[in-house]
């Protein structure tokens, strides 16, 4: 909402403040000013002058030499403007003055300084200005010529300040009005707030009900078939319309609000719409058949052409204004081509109605037709405002000599909106705010915005334009706004102390971040939604459970249309980004949810699983990844042996280089090398690796409890086992046997060499383990060790393993 300060001052004449003061104070009292534009920015030393004499320039065909009377003296100005004439009153910027824009009509930061000088050898002591050079446009000043300088009306005073005469000594403020303050989508509403903010008196426009001896009801009858969607419909009639320009002051008000002045009739409706926040519509009464207006829902498939010439196909949710025969307007949105005002209009039917805001909002959205009127209606307006607005419009019609107003108003208003009443509880207001204000002080603030106390019932009465006042807290806000939020003390909550804490699962996540970061991984964030195409990219089966993704019904596009069921796409995309940008040795991780529906379509909330996803490429391999995982497990107290099942079955991973991660018999995640074809598809060159850990599983096993076990007192004994092992036998199988058979005294088993190739028979590999033994009770003797070693070797021989000679 944009409004000029001058318009506000029409209702708060005593308001005196700088633009910045106004912006700050209004913002702090709750009417947020987003910014302002001073219309006289970069306009200096500009006066009204009158051209008294024009001569040809001796050396330039397109230039003329003007003598211009500027009140105090006559100065010579050379101009190329095509529209000057002797007697013309023009805006003259004097030597050393400033204009906002150049000859090309483009505004220049800081303005352009005009200096006296010579033009083709002839002295020129100033410049005559076009409306664009004065920082405005023909949109706002329709009387300005397309080319050439701005010519004032004959009554302009020579020597006077041209900026003032044009009404450019004004400031336009841009407000951000919150959705609860529908009344502030009007100049009156903002003026009321301004008056209360600055403690000045508010003078709302005095609306006089005028009209001739005739009755509007003799011209028109109104029938509303859906009072839910149209709680009120008022209509008045104006005869003998005389279309012409509206007065300059009205044009300036509209122009400053960003509304182009057109003619008196249109300008009056727009003026009242801005002033009262009540949109109105004018129909050519002579096009209305049967002297009747019917407000009804459209029929499904009904077609209608709006006054912009566009045809719309409607449905039963769209409210229509019709005459006895045909529809004539889309209620609250736009009138019809068939009833629109033309220059030849004689009689007008004015409509100021109240429509259901939600319905207008949804209809205008569905039709793709948003207008100033619908923008106001969709906030949900006060039906009591319609009457004042239509009377105001008729008053202006008569005052401006735009037509003859017919007496009376047709008003269909079955349920009159009542003002709301809230018990006045000053101690509760103080308790909520933490203040100690007196009852009288509160009443003073409330009265400033027309919230008054009824002593008899001890209730505050809120006028119907304040649809946001329903309870004590609402009154507290009004008090706080004008007392000043800044004046409310600052304290800390008292009462029972509480313990601040992080829940266990977040502590585990925190530990995960710590460990993987120490392992060199940096944290990334990726989106929760992705494209359903990722499933094919990841080579998932047609019936893979991951494909059962939750769909968004109004996504930003296919690429963001499903909620991810696995986290690898985000990681692969991020790796690819880094690869493409030639980043070397990249390690990334992400902690983010995947979303698993129990059934589709979704009936209840899905399971949200937090996944730790690791990804890397560069100088790393599978076992680096494995190391990070085991490091993490240990640090969250998962000290049992981690098992790896190579049959993870992930189609996006290398079939020979992937494994499920198993802890205490549960699959808690998987890792592997990215399948070369998938990597290629994503654009990642070389080998890359990912691991995905299901944090919801980890949380089941994790613990931060630690118990000290004592440090061994007796010495350890080591034995190396150098073996020839059939190629298919996995290290885990060997270690399992060594551990089982090693019994209690086996402290650790460690692979220290693995070799395939020359000297080793085809189909076999050489592996060397170091087994360390230690007893908690005694120093181990040779025979203790050899007995265990024998058991171990016997066990290993079952796998076809032989000691190396």
């Amino acid at each position: 909402m944009n409004t000029s300060l001058k318009w506000i001052k029409r209702y708060v004449p005593d308001l005196e403040c700088t633009s910045q003061e106004y912006m700050d104070a209004m913002t702090l009292s709750g009417t947020k000013v987003e910014g302002y534009k001073e219309l006289d920015e970069n306009l200096e030393k500009i006066v009204i002058g009158q051209v008294t004499k024009i001569e040809k320039h001796p050396d330039a065909d397109k230039l003329v030499i003007c003598q211009v009377n500027i009140g105090t003296e006559s100065i010579q100005i050379v101009t190329g403007a095509p529209n000057v004439f002797e007697g013309a009153k023009v805006a003259v910027v004097l030597d050393g003055g400033k204009v906002a824009a150049g000859h090309d009509d483009k505004k220049v930061e800081g303005g352009i300084v005009i200096k006296a000088g010579k033009l083709r050898g002839i002295e020129s002591n100033g410049m005559m200005c076009s409306i664009e050079e004065l920082g405005s446009t023909r949109e706002m000043y329709p009387e300005a010529p397309e080319y050439g300088i701005y010519i004032f009306d004959d009554d302009a005073k020579v020597g006077a300040d041209a900026v003032k005469a044009l009404g450019l000594d004004d400031v336009v403020f841009e407000y951000e009005v919150t959705s609860n303050r529908v009344d502030c989508y009007s100049v009156i509403g903002i003026a009321r707030e301004a008056a209360a903010t600055f403690g000045k008196k508010f003078y709302p426009p005095e609306v006089k009900v005028i009209g001739n001896d005739e009755k509007a009801s003799d011209y028109i009858r109104v029938e509303v078939t859906d009072k839910e969607l149209c709680p009120r419909y008022t209509a008045r009639v104006v005869k003998n319309i005389k279309i012409g320009p509206s007065p300059k002051w009205m044009q300036r008000c509209l122009a400053a609000s960003g509304i182009r002045p057109i003619n008196n009739l249109v300008d009056i409706t727009n003026y009242v719409m801005e002033e009262f926040g009540q949109p109105m519509h004018a129909y050519d009464l002579d096009t209305i058949e049967g002297n009747k207006i019917i407000v009804r829902r459209a029929e499904n498939g009904e077609k209608f052409v709006t006054l912009d010439g566009k045809e719309h196909v409607l449905d039963e949710n769209v409210l229509m204004i019709c005459d006895a025969e045909k529809p004539v307007g889309l209620a609250g949105i736009m009138g019809g081509e068939n009833s629109m005002i033309t220059d030849n209009v004689k009689n007008v039917l004015f409509e100021a109605a109240n429509f259901d805001g939600t319905n207008i909002r949804l209809s205008s959205k569905r039709l793709g037709l948003r207008t100033d009127a619908s923008g106001k209606f969709e906030k949900g307006l006060d039906p009591n405002n319609a009457e004042a607005a239509i009377n105001r419009a008729c008053q202006l019609i008569e005052e401006l000599g735009c037509g003859e107003v017919v007496g009376g108003m047709v008003d269909v208003y079955p349920e009159v909106r009542k003002e709301s009443r809230v018990p006045f509880e000053p101690e509760k207001i103080n308790d909520l705010l933490g203040t100690d204000l007196s009852k009288d002080e509160m009443l003073k603030y409330l009265a400033a915005v027309e919230l008054t106390l009824v002593e008899k019932t001890n209730e505050i009465v809120a006028p119907t334009f304040r649809q946001d006042i329903h309870c004590m807290a609402d009154l507290a806000e009004e008090v706080a706004r004008f007392f000043g939020y800044d004046n409310i003390p600052t304290t800390l909550p008292k009462g029972e102390a509480t313990t601040g804490k992080l829940p266990f699962d977040l502590r585990v996540q925190q530990k995960a971040r710590e460990i993987v970061q120490y392992s060199g991984f940096s944290q990334g964030y990726t989106y929760s939604f992705e494209s359903p195409k990722v499933f094919d990219r990841l080579r998932l089966d047609k019936d893979a459970p991951e494909r059962k993704a939750i769909e968004i019904i109004n996504p930003l596009g296919e690429d963001f249309s499903i909620m991810r069921t696995l986290s690898v796409n985000g990681m692969l995309t991020s790796l690819a980004t880094n690869y493409n940008r030639r980043n070397k040795d990249v390690k990334l991780y992400e902690l983010g949810n995947i979303y698993l529906a129990k059934e589709l379509p979704l009936k209840e909330l899905p399971e949200e699983k937090m996944m730790l996803t690791l990804g890397m490429f560069g100088k790393y391999d599978f076992f680096d990844m494995k190391g990070v995982i085991e490091e993490f497990f240990e640090k969250v107290g998962m000290n049992e042996i981690v098992e790896y099942d190579a049959k993870a079955g992930k189609p996006y991973l290398h079939p020979g280089r992937q494994a499920n991660i198993i802890y205490k018999g549960e699959v808690v995640g998987y890792l592997g090398e990215v399948h070369p074809e998938v990597a290629k598809d994503y654009g990642i060159g070389g080998r890359s690796y990912i691991a995905v850990i299901d944090m919801t599983e980890i949380v089941k096993f994790a613990t931060f409890d630690r118990k000290y076990k004592g440090i061994a007192k007796f010495p350890a004994v080591s034995r190396d086992l150098s073996m020839v092992v059939p190629k298919d036998v996995q290290a885990a199988d060997i270690e399992k046997i060594i551990r089982q058979r090693g019994g209690k005294i086996l402290e650790s088993v460690e692979l220290f060499d693995i070799y395939e190739g020359e000297q080793i028979q085809e189909g076999f590999k050489s592996m060397a383990y170091k087994c360390t033994f230690r007893s908690a009770e005694k120093t181990l003797e040779e025979q203790d060790i050899s007995a265990v070693m024998k058991k171990i070797l016997n066990g290993l021989s079952v796998l076809g393993i032989e000691l190396r000679q």
């Binding site: 702090l28 709750g30 947020k32 919150t178 959705s179 303050r181 909002r361 949804l362 308790d431 705010l433 203040t435 309870c471 004590m472 807290a473 507290a476 806000e477 706080a480 706004r481 939020y485 800044d486 409310i488 003390p489 600052t490 304290t491 800390l492 909550p493 008292k494 009462g495 509480t498 313990t499 601040g500 804490k501 992080l502 829940p503 971040r513 993987v516 970061q517 060199g520 940096s522 944290q523 964030y525 990726t526 989106y527 929760s528 939750i550 968004i552 019904i553 930003l556 991020s574 980004t577 880094n578 940008r581 990334l588 991780y589 949810n593 379509p601 979704l602 909330l605 899905p606 949200e608």
Partner: protein
């Protein structure tokens, strides 16, 4: 007689030893001297062996003489040894000098995402003030995201927030505020909680918008909680987060689920409030929305609004991260380029 003979011999041993010790250039020679003079087969030992020829009454005196000589030689040896060792050490240290400006060997520890750093800061501040961290679902019922927060069906706020819908009852949460309603419904009072998490709004990706971002919701419910408490708490938070000089400004605003409502600005931490390019010349930066919990919200969540009051606030995590780390494009937060991440 013998005694004198022995004495002369000892003197000569001592003189010779002292001479050769003095001339010794390295530890090997010192050790040689030690063996030659003091060793089992050494000269001094030989003298001791001659004791059998000494009269028994003279033996203690002779023994004393031998010992004195030994002590003197040992002391001489020790002095030279210390000197030589010192020289040796100095030579070694001199030889081992390194170029300390050669490159460091780093562990290449990974980096936290700026969002996470900001989040941990905020969590640390509020945990310190006795707040519990609580999580809520990202895919949420319309009921919690809107209805229980005083945003009924067809409320314009539902449009304004550009909600992603899964169906008519389930949405991608547009705010972390539903965590308020969920926490209040548990019925455990008093409440001091913050709830961080991911939220979604249907905004196209650009430098300042993202369809998915993060918020931190805060909620305090107890008897006698006031708007002054809200101001005090958030002022404390702002000072912790942006520095002790930070000033706060509360502006009236509107949120359906709080009344009175406010937006909080902090004095620009770049220019201290004088106005700069960073704060667009205003001296203030908008940081969060807040307010007193609306009595209707209390009612819908089963808390007696006559007995309890409370305040709530919501902070945009990305907003804090972008401001604090002067990141000029929100897209950087989701690209995961390590050249970006490694700066945090």
């Amino acid at each position: 007689m013998i005694n004198n003979e022995i004495k002369t011999k000892l003197d000569s041993i001592l003189d010779k030893a002292q001479e050769s010790i003095k001339a010794a250039k390295d530890m090997d020679i010192i050790n040689e001297i030690r063996v030659k003079v003091l060793g089992k087969k050494g000269e001094l030992t030989a003298v001791l062996k001659g004791m059998k020829d000494v009269a028994p009454e003279d033996r203690p005196a002779v023994g004393q003489l031998v010992n004195d000589t030994r002590t003197k030689i040992e002391s001489a040896l020790e002095t030279v040894k210390t000197r030589l060792e010192k020289a040796q050490m100095e030579a070694r240290l001199a030889a081992e000098k390194i170029d300390v400006t050669l490159p460091a060997k780093k562990y290449n520890i990974g980096h936290s995402h700026p969002n996470t750093i900001a989040l941990e800061e905020v969590e640390r501040i509020f945990i310190g003030m006795g707040y519990e961290v609580v999580e809520g679902p990202e895919i949420e019922y319309d009921l919690y995201n809107f209805e229980k927060l005083n945003i009924p069906a067809n409320h314009p706020a539902k449009d304004e927030q550009d909600t992603f819908y899964i169906n008519s009852d389930i949405v991608l949460r547009t705010q972390t505020s539903p965590a308020q309603a969920r926490e209040m419904e548990k019925g455990k009072l008093p409440i001091r909680m913050i709830s961080p998490g991911r939220v979604f709004r249907s905004d196209e990706v650009d430098a300042t918008h993202s369809p998915s971002f993060h918020q931190i919701e805060g909620l305090v419910v107890d008897e006698h909680i006031t708007f002054a408490d809200l101001k005090g708490t958030l002022q404390e938070f702002a000072r912790e987060l942006f520095g002790p000089e930070t000033k706060t400004k509360f502006r009236p605003h509107h949120f359906p689920f709080t009344e009175p409502s406010a937006e909080m600005d902090v004095s620009c931490f770049k220019c201290g409030g004088k106005g700069c390019r960073f704060c667009k010349g205003e001296g203030w930066i908008e940081i969060l929305g807040c307010g007193m919990v609306h009595p209707h919200v209390f009612e819908m969540c089963g808390i007696d609004p006559e007995k309890y009051t409370g305040f709530a606030f919501g902070v945009g995590l990305e907003r804090i991260a972008l401001l604090k780390y002067e990141i000029d494009d929100m897209r950087l937060l989701y690209e995961n380029d390590i050249r970006f991440l490694n700066q945090f």
